[in-house]
């Protein structure tokens, strides 16, 4: 199925709008500014703040986000240069604690997958072993790496020799000619995408090539690629950092929500490129449904959706093995292809109990039949239940696309209107804002149905369903407005802005309610949240 939302979120600047426009959009505006502040948090990040420090970034965010909603999480967006700077900062810090040169410290940190506490502990306890296991061996500080000519040397890789041959070896002593060493690094970095843990070319040598040696041996072209790869490894190694999954986006997002917290929180983050995604699973924003339900739901849809409709009309399940059987003729005598069970299509009873009245089933009361019918009804019921939620889920997905199409057409016409009437750009921005709100609300609504499918009834579900209904109504009302003829649109501006604000408000209410109850463990689900 096509549940992949396009990355439509290169979101026009609704934030700019909220700030620039002088129109009051009560609660809706609140929501916008709260969210934009959580997005702008990254702007205030400086190289000096250690975003690795738990305490550091919590206290940092406190002053920036005065009224965060229950469904929002703290996060920061980083661009590549910031990620590099933060690596440097940590290297410098740990370097002074361990009294090791930065090159060696960098290797140690990468070796420990950037867990600096563990590195410091381990180093303090067993410095020699720690250095050894990271491939650093003894006295990395004393002799800087250098290229030398050696009498009577023969390179094991190319078999060249001669007194003019430039050679290189790290402290492990595995010496090769510079050309071979260079080509080796080239192959590793360029072809194999290795960087953080490139080992000495010597057989079975675990020494890792440090960045000083690398600087000495490779040119600028390779050096850039090397840095890029190091940064990539850094983000991959850090539990709190994740790349934005939008195509071609170079930003990484930092968020403190840990995997084990995912049953209690849905950490949607907003990248500076405009994309909203879940920090827990990297899928598109799926609030209010927790990650594990989303995974389950998508899997189920993949398995069931295409055929579910057809199945419900044309098939029944074998009463014995429950495989699906299609009736394609008039005869009621069914034989299951899988288990060879023979049964009657009409009453689901054993065929053997039908005697000779083959084409005229009158055995509706037979025990085997009534039990099978119960089971059948049950499985029908569960299928119908699924379809109930799935159809609504799919409908919002589909509608979001239609809404967007209409909006794009409208936008074109508005541009024409703009040039013919001399209206300013800012005056038609409300359409943009409305369209964006519509997309976002539908996205939320869509996932409320997956959420509801797994929700077991308790006294909270009614409130949830009311919220869902209210949001749905608000969305449909706004959606309708886009179908109005273009010449009426301008007159409906205030109305449309009101409806947009109302949609946003309903969405926030619903998300706050679901998030708060999720955090407190008040929801009961009919599956386990893993």
């Amino acid at each position: 199925m096509d549940s992949e939302d396009d990355f439509n979120s290169s979101q026009m600047s609704e934030d700019d709008f909220a700030q620039d426009s002088d129109v009051e959009i009560d609660e809706g505006k609140d929501a916008e500014s709260a969210r934009s502040s959580s997005c702008d948090a990254s702007d205030t990040w400086t190289v000096d703040s250690d975003f690795d420090d738990d305490v550091g970034f919590e206290s940092q965010d406190k002053d920036i986000k005065p009224n965060k909603h229950a469904y929002e999480v703290d996060f920061n967006v980083f661009e590549p240069s910031q990620i590099q700077a933060s690596q440097h900062k940590q290297i410098a810090e740990v370097s002074s604690i361990l009294v090791q040169p930065p090159e060696a410290t960098a290797i140690l940190l990468r070796h420990m997958r950037w867990n600096k506490e563990r590195l410091i502990d381990q180093y303090m306890e067993k410095p020699e072993e720690t250095l050894e296991s990271a491939g650093l061996g003894q006295d990395a500080a004393t002799n800087p790496p250098k290229i030398t000519k050696i009498q009577g040397f023969c390179c094991d890789i190319c078999c060249e020799d001669g007194p003019e041959l430039d050679t290189f070896a790290m402290r492990c002593g595995h010496r090769f000619c510079v050309d071979c060493y260079r080509q080796y690094l080239y192959t590793k970095i360029k072809d194999e995408g290795e960087a953080a843990r490139i080992r000495c070319p010597g057989d079975k040598c675990n020494r890792v090539v440090d960045s000083k040696s690398l600087d000495l041996l490779v040119g600028d072209d390779l050096h850039d690629r090397y840095q890029e790869l190091l940064t990539r490894t850094y983000v991959d190694d850090k539990e709190k950092l994740r790349w934005c999954p939008a195509p071609n986006c170079v930003y990484a997002v930092e968020c403190a929500v840990k995997d084990r917290e995912l049953p209690r929180v849905v950490p949607t983050v907003h990248c500076d490129c405009g994309h909203y995604f879940c920090f827990g699973c990297s899928l598109n924003d799926h609030q209010p449904a927790p990650c594990s339900l989303v995974k389950r739901w998508l899997k189920k849809c993949e398995d069931d959706s295409e055929t579910a409709n057809w199945i419900s009309a044309n098939t029944k399940e074998c009463p014995k093995c429950h495989s699906t059987i299609e009736k394609n003729g008039g005869c009621n005598h069914m034989t299951c292809r899988k288990c060879r069970n023979e049964f009657c299509w009409m009453c689901m009873g054993l065929w053997s109990e039908h005697g000779t009245s083959w084409y005229n089933c009158n055995r509706f009361e037979e025990k085997s039949g009534s039990e099978a019918r119960d089971a059948q009804a049950k499985s029908r019921q569960s299928l119908e239940r699924y379809l109930h939620y799935y159809n609504r889920y799919a409908n919002h997905e589909q509608s979001a696309k239609l809404d967007k199409d209409i909006y794009l057409k409208t936008e074109k016409k508005m541009q024409q209107l703009q040039s013919s009437t001399g209206m300013s750009w800012i005056e038609v921005q409300y359409l943009d804002t409305a369209s964006h709100a519509l997309q976002q609300c539908r996205q939320t609504l869509k996932w409320t149905y997956a959420f509801a499918y797994y929700l077991a009834r308790n006294n909270l579900t009614e409130i949830f369903e009311d919220n869902q209904k209210d949001l749905e109504m608000a969305v449909e009302n706004l959606s309708e407005m886009f179908e109005k003829p273009i010449d009426q649109l301008q007159g409906l501006k205030v109305d449309m802005m009101d409806k947009t604000a109302y949609c946003n408000k309903r969405r926030i209410i619903l998300l706050n309610d679901t998030a708060e109850n999720l955090k407190q463990g008040n929801w009961e689900f009919n599956v386990a949240l893993s």
């Binding site: 094991d156 890789i157 190319c158 078999c159 060249e160 595995h174 090769f176 071979c180 080509q183 080796y184 192959t187 070319p201 010597g202 057989d203 079975k204 040598c205």
Partner: protein, 153 residues
């Protein structure tokens, strides 16, 4: 064809002048990067008495990348699949440009002497090996007799 790198020339020379016991590697006349290889099944192993044929190819970027080696003789072994591909660390992540054809072939010979079902390439064979080792060894012996018999001179 580009001139053969000095390294390959030297390796080839040494392979013929000081051959490794139980292993032969002879380059094709028309392609000096392509070798016909035979390995004797190690004694005390289910492959004892067998003569296994392999092909070995040195890619353009050899020795920066490892040689490509494949069994041509059918063999029942948890680390060798039906296509004769070999699961051996030195042919992959643990390759070092300081390694040579002879060291690689020695490693393959050693692998015949010490199958490792915990790092399998042929999953079904590895499974059989773990479930009933003596039966798997019996099968390996049968395959050796059937497919790796020496040509009667």
């Amino acid at each position: 064809m580009a001139a053969l790198p000095k390294r390959i020339v030297k390796e080839t020379e040494r392979l013929s002048k000081e051959p490794v016991p139980g292993i032969s590697a002879v380059p094709h006349d028309d392609n000096l990067r392509y070798f016909d290889v035979t390995i004797d099944g190690p004694s005390q192993s289910p492959y004892e008495g067998g003569l296994f044929r392999l092909e070995l190819f040195l890619p353009d970027d050899y020795p920066m990348t490892p040689p490509k080696v494949r069994f041509l003789t059918k063999i029942y072994h948890p680390n060798i699949d039906r296509l004769g591909r070999i699961c051996l660390d030195v042919l992959k992540s643990n390759w070092s440009p300081a390694l040579q054809i002879r060291t690689i072939l020695l490693s393959i010979q050693a692998l015949l002497g010490a199958p490792n079902p915990d790092d399998p390439l042929a999953n079904d064979v590895a499974q059989a090996w773990k479930e009933d080792q003596s039966k798997a060894i019996e099968t390996a012996k049968q395959w050796t007799a059937q497919h790796a018999a020496r040509p009667t001179a």
